[in-house]
């Protein structure tokens, strides 16, 4: 087992302002950045604020920016850095700072509420749902999301554009719309809800210009752009410009 001292710069402060502080911390074999933050708390800065839960990449709590890249601290191994390198940890840039590494992520919870929930199919009793594996797999990929909000943090539509936050749900919640739209038994359309249209008109799908930054930072490896956002765009466009679809939507569906 080998041990060495590493140089860290950690942002400390609150909504009023703050600064990067220098720390020298011991590092052991196999450790991740979150271990180092915990050692800082236990030995040098007991009130250093940080969110974390599972420490196994499953809950998506310990999101921060490590050397400027949005990362989960529990999945960022120290061995990926040179021992001489100074490692800088800062809070997620797209959200207001609460304290130190903790940010106010309430934006995401607001957006979650704006996506209409799953609509169960009428007349199908609990226990009678039948779906094929191949049909559930597309939405299952999106349900792997651990809501770390790294995609929301990195997306350039809102990263430095506070003004876009009102109109734009962000990759995570556009992916949620796609997930519901691809759910084999979602009955939203029967209830008069066109998820594709709302993606465009209410959740700001049009702002996305598929630069794939969200996909790159996703710790779950979800192909957010390719598998959720682009198909959603294609389907939304089909709706918007296909005259037959347009006509159909105007005269309404006949219910038998």
């Amino acid at each position: 087992m080998s041990t060495y001292d590493a140089s860290f710069r950690v942002w400390r402060g609150d909504a009023e302002g703050g600064e990067l502080r220098d720390f020298t911390v011991e590092v052991h074999d196999g450790e991740v950045v979150l271990d180092i933050v915990h050692r800082l708390q236990a030995t040098q800065a007991s009130d250093l604020a940080v969110r974390w839960n599972c420490k196994a990449g499953k809950c998506g709590s310990c999101s921060a920016e490590v050397n400027g890249r949005p990362r989960l601290m529990c999945m960022t191994r120290m061995s990926t850095f040179e021992r001489t390198e100074t490692i800088t940890i800062t809070p997620l840039r797209a959200f207001p700072v609460v304290r130190d590494l903790v940010t106010d992520v309430s934006f995401n919870y607001q957006k979650a509420r704006e996506v209409p929930a799953f609509v169960p199919p009428e007349g199908v009793a609990p226990g009678a749902y039948r779906m094929q594996q191949i049909d559930v797999e597309r939405s299952q990929e999106f349900r792997k999301c651990i809501e770390c909000f790294l995609c929301q943090d990195t997306c350039h539509v809102v990263r430095d554009h506070e003004e876009n936050k009102g109109a734009f749900a962000g990759p995570r919640f556009l992916m949620r719309v796609a997930e519901l739209d691809m759910h084999p038994l979602d009955a939203a359309s029967d209830a008069g809800l066109d998820r594709k249209r709302t993606a465009q008109e209410e959740h700001g799908l049009g702002y996305c210009n598929i630069t794939k930054c969200c996909t790159e930072v996703c710790p779950e490896g979800i192909k957010i752009t390719d598998n959720a956002l682009i198909p959603l765009k294609e389907r939304a466009v089909d709706r918007k410009y296909d005259p037959l679809v347009w006509l159909g939507s105007k005269i309404g569906r006949r219910k038998g």
């Binding site: 991740v32 007991s46 009130d47 839960n53 599972c54 420490k55 779906m131 759910h183």
Partner: protein, 636 residues
């Protein structure tokens, strides 16, 4: 006098994991205005870490399954100490609770005919666990979270306010359950972000705070698992049941040190993973206890055949209940046949092609690749026992989840005791959360509706608020020589891990109690730096009270029970004693609370278990019952 904001709710649910959210959904659907309060962000609760699945006898993969078989397996797994009515309700209601999740949008893996797929797990006779790869807990928590949002959307339509009837207070902690006389009157809370205190006034409170693993050094549990609900119940006067039973999951990661304890799902074994020692031997065949002899394969060949033909072969002993497997691994390592980093080898790479492993066990593949540089599709994992779950918990009424002696206080999920007896089967936790979360929410809502009239709601007194506020602020007023809460926590974890761990001895447990008393004295002087805004040192200092209280329960009950059963193994009393079968150990708070922090806080009371209903006993062969039940019980 502390000026704090007061809010009025009908039901307050403490904890937002599977049990808490299910309770909140039920209470709100029954018309109660419901508040949920949780230490982390909404959707981050420990339930997300559950991997393998939800046990429910839907019979989708083997139609021989039904609630009676599930009940039998659960009782056997718990070595017959289970509160049998809970095990019965659980087995009967679990399928409905799973199917209900589908109507809320959950997407489980499917069988070829489109139904919910079910997988094998330790101690379950048939493939019974509904699953989504190895991330079932995430699916459960997200589905419940999204159902909560759906209810809030309904309320928004009706009242113009998402939080009119159901609100989640995230990143808030409850430090006291408040009472007027015997009755619950609310909770005292602080907001982690600001440190601000507030009171939720409510006639009914549901505790759904999960477990106690953070009192142990090697654990699969997250920081939240500090036994808060257990301690809140004790402090409110409600007893805990059979706290000596702590489950050490057989397979946690052992290397590198920083990830030691992180869970390796039982699905690895359910899907065909085998355990080997350093000599390459599948050692589990040497560890099948008498009570399970007829049910498990005697040769590797038979065990291997079982995966293809379960009707004509017996299952391999890697799928014994967790307590058996954990003890076996411990023995192999002690005998010098362990892996290089002090575990044993778990290998699934020879059973399935790489692509199938990646599909069925994606997060295990990812976890080992990212954290340990191990490719589980090509090489074995190193694994060893890790503190995972507490079977003991708040004593509750089986039907209503009401606690004993504190009207208005309910408990569900891991924080509640009884359901799992002395050892929980894998997959029975997620179903427990749903079945008893729903029951707790239902009965809390009914109680609140009754309690609102005619005598009116119980009131929260200013004196109680002042006392709770003073207690919470004490760490900021520590004198010179204040103790570092992080140091105290590490010493507590070492004490419990080394002295009240997987294998227990009388002398060590007695020593643990002495060390806990010394830690209580020092914890009374725990001090913190900085201010109240999002201060983890302060939060930990407050959580220490709970961990110390619960650890005392575990150590005291473990010392008292002079036998080995399920999650309680004593080197000095290695046999399961039938005379202990009908004995429950209740932990009660010493009343009045002693002024000296070194004095005992907990006293033990022995009670007798309720006789098992005859029609349930009739589900077992007489020859099997003889192995478990006390002499006098056989003739009752």
């Amino acid at each position: 006098m502390a000026q704090v904001e007061r809010q009025q709710w009908d039901v307050v649910v403490v904890g937002a994991g599977g049990a808490g959210l299910r309770a909140a959904i039920e209470a709100r659907e029954r018309g109660a205005r419901t508040a949920v309060i949780c230490k982390s962000l909404f959707g981050k609760a420990h339930t997300v870490m559950a991997e393998g699945g939800i046990a429910a006898s839907m019979g989708n993969v083997n139609d021989g399954d039904n609630w009676q078989v599930h009940f039998r397996d659960t009782m056997r797994g718990g070595k017959f100490l289970n509160q049998w009515r809970m095990a019965e309700l659980h087995a009967k209601e679990a399928p409905d609770r799973v199917w209900e999740l589908e109507t809320w949008g959950a997407l489980f893996d499917r069988t070829p005919d489109g139904r919910i797929s079910q997988r094998n797990f330790g101690g379950h006779e048939y493939p019974r666990l509904a699953h989504v790869g190895d991330r079932t807990g995430l699916e459960l928590i997200r589905t419940l979270q999204q159902k909560i949002v759906a209810l809030q959307q309904e309320d928004f339509k009706e009242h113009g306010d998402y939080e009119a009837r159901l609100k989640v207070f995230q990143e808030c902690t409850v430090t006291r359950v408040l009472k007027e006389g015997q009755r619950v009157s609310g909770t005292f809370c602080y907001e982690r972000e600001s440190g601000r205190f507030f009171v939720l006034e409510a006639p009914a409170v549901v505790l759904a705070t999960g477990g106690i693993g953070k009192s142990f050094k090697t654990t699969s549990n997250s920081w939240e698992y500090t036994g808060d609900g257990h301690a809140l119940a004790l402090l409110a006067g409600a007893p805990l049941l059979n706290m000596e039973f702590v489950q050490f999951h057989p397979t946690g990661m052992v290397w590198p040190p920083s990830v030691k304890g992180i869970l390796v799902t039982e699905s690895v074994r359910g899907d065909g993973g085998v355990l080997r020692n350093s000599e390459g031997k599948r050692f589990m065949f040497d560890y099948v206890p008498d009570v399970f002899k007829e049910k498990y394969a005697e040769s590797e060949e038979e065990g291997d055949r079982w995966y293809e033909d379960p009707d004509h072969n017996r299952r391999p002993p890697e799928l014994l209940p967790r307590d058996e497997v954990a003890r076996a691994i411990n023995s192999e390592v002690k005998a010098g046949r362990g892996s290089p980093h002090g575990g044993v080898f778990l290998d699934v790479s020879t059973r399935m092609p790489a692509e199938k492993i990646k599909r069925r066990l994606p997060s295990m593949y990812h976890q080992f690749k990212e954290l340990a540089d191990v490719d589980i599709t090509a090489e074995p994992m190193e694994v060893g026992p890790t503190c995972h779950y507490v079977m003991g918990g708040i004593a509750v009424d089986s039907e209503t989840a009401a606690t004993v002696g504190v009207p208005g206080l309910f408990a569900a999920g891991e924080v509640a005791g009884g359901m799992h007896g002395s050892n929980r089967l894998g997959g029975n936790s997620l179903s427990d959360l749903l079945v008893f979360g729903r029951r707790a929410g239902l009965h809390a809502a009914e109680y609140a509706a009754r309690g609102a009239s005619p005598t009116g709601r119980p009131a929260v007194s200013q004196a109680e608020i002042d006392a709770a506020a003073a207690e919470a602020l004490a760490p900021f007023h520590a004198a010179e020589g204040a103790e570092n809460p992080y140091t105290l926590h590490q010493e507590l974890q070492t004490t419990m891990n080394d002295l009240v761990g997987i294998i227990r001895r009388e002398g060590e447990m007695a020593e643990a109690l002495e060390r806990l008393a010394a830690l209580r004295v020092r914890a009374a002087r725990a001090g913190v730096e900085g201010h109240r805004q999002f201060n983890p040192g302060w939060h930990l200092a407050l959580d220490l009270r709970n961990m110390l209280l619960v650890s005392e329960c575990v150590a005291r009950a473990a010392l008292e029970r002079t036998e080995s059963r399920g999650g309680h193994t004593r080197e000095d009393c290695p046999a399961m004693e039938r005379t202990w079968r009908p004995v429950n150990l209740l932990c009660r708070p010493v009343d009045p609370v002693p002024a000296d922090p070194a004095a005992d806080r907990i006293e033990l009371v022995r009670t007798r278990t309720e006789p098992i209903r005859p029609d349930l006993l009739a589900l077992f062969e007489k020859e099997e019952l003889v192995k478990y039940l006390a002499e006098e019980e056989l003739y009752e």
